[in-house]
Amino acid sequence: MKILVVDDFSTMRRIIKNLLRDLGFNNTVEADDGKTALPILEAGGIDFLVTDWNMPGMTGIDLLKAVRANPDLRDMPILMVTAEAKREQIIMAAQAGVNGYVIKPFTAATLKEKIEKIFERIDG
């Protein structure tokens, strides 16, 4: 299981990477916005995408839409981890096809629960 973590703040990427490691996911790669993330995704081998929303260059919602529009990537499970908390934004992300939505600040338990739920649905 290879996971791509996309966030413009390196500290947030490190936090998520450490939490993922604690959950048993040791194979993670990082990108700092959608623009750098997309080529990594297109190169293949990524099984799961965790992304922030508000990033310079290319936002997480645009990355989400780009992934869903790409026939090779469109089934990729995507978890959004973001400070954007407006209802209309959450609905927008849901409509764009996000698999989970975690608002910052979040707890390790929340991240674990959402990731497990996503895989449950995929496996089930």
Binding site: A85, K86, R87, V102, T110
Partner: protein, 240 residues
């Protein structure tokens, strides 16, 4: 002093002088002079007030100039420094955690292994040769644990020290809040002096991505998820 009053007084004065009424004429002259003085005083008063207001306006103008030329750029740098400090603290903490985690994981694994063996020993299921090996392993574990726990302790101390940012950034932010308050007061005063002839705008345009919702500010309209439960409820109402 209206024309009628002056004309009336002048007529009375002529009448008094013609009648040789010296005292009456003096009284009338005083009254006329008094009227004139009164008007002068009123005018001086008006001018003084105007001057005062203008001066007050000037001092507010210079205050705002000062604020925009010096204090606001200062504040921007101060806030930038807050970002730097919090980032440093986060990195220092993450470094410590990333240093400690593998050590504690290794300790955990070692203890798991040894306690399994120890259990078998207590159940008298362990041959002597294996017991000797286990004794050596336990000795090694003790030696290694000392070093490992030192790493953990140092890491925890690093994390502890990294929290010092809170005090410093708190003070810096407090100062910027004071500045904003100063600016607010000056602006309100400026608007008051200008006669409040301002058109009400619809407030600052909300950014497309508003970011973190601050409790008590951004959640007033009720269009913001208060917490993860709120998000989950919303998503499940959408069939998630």
């Amino acid at each position: 002093m209206t024309k009628n009053i002056r004309l009336d007084l002048a007529k009375k004065l002529v009448e008094a002088i013609e009648n040789g009424d010296e005292a009456g004429a003096d009284e009338l002259l005083d009254e006329i002079a008094g009227l004139r003085e009164n008007q002068l005083f009123q005018e001086v008063g008006r001018l003084t007030r105007q001057l005062h207001d203008t001066m007050a306006g000037f001092s507010i103008d210079s205050k705002i100039t000062d604020l925009t030329e010096n204090d606001i750029p200062d504040a921007k740098e101060r806030l930038q420094y807050v970002i730097t400090m919090t980032e440093q603290a986060a990195n220092q903490t993450l470094n410590a955690v990333e240093g400690v985690l593998p050590v504690s994981q290794e300790l955990n694994e070692q203890i798991g292994l040894l306690s399994g063996k120890w259990g078998r020993f207590l159940d008298r299921e362990m041959p002597f040769a294996e017991f000797k090996d286990m004794s050596a392993e336990i000795t090694q574990h003790f030696n290694e644990s000392k070093g490992s726990l030192k790493v953990v302790q140092d890491g925890l101390n690093d994390i502890l020290m990294a929290q010092g940012f809170q005090d410093i950034t708190g003070q810096i932010i407090k100062r910027v809040i004071d500045l904003v308050q100063d600016l607010e007061t000056s602006m309100v005063e400026l608007i008051r002096i200008s006669g409040g002839k301002t058109t009400h705008s619809k407030g600052i345009h909300e950014p497309e991505l508003p970011g973190p919702a601050i409790p008590g500010i951004d959640d007033k309209a009720g269009d913001v998820a208060a917490d993860q439960d709120d998000v989950d409820d919303l998503l499940s109402s959408l069939g998630f």
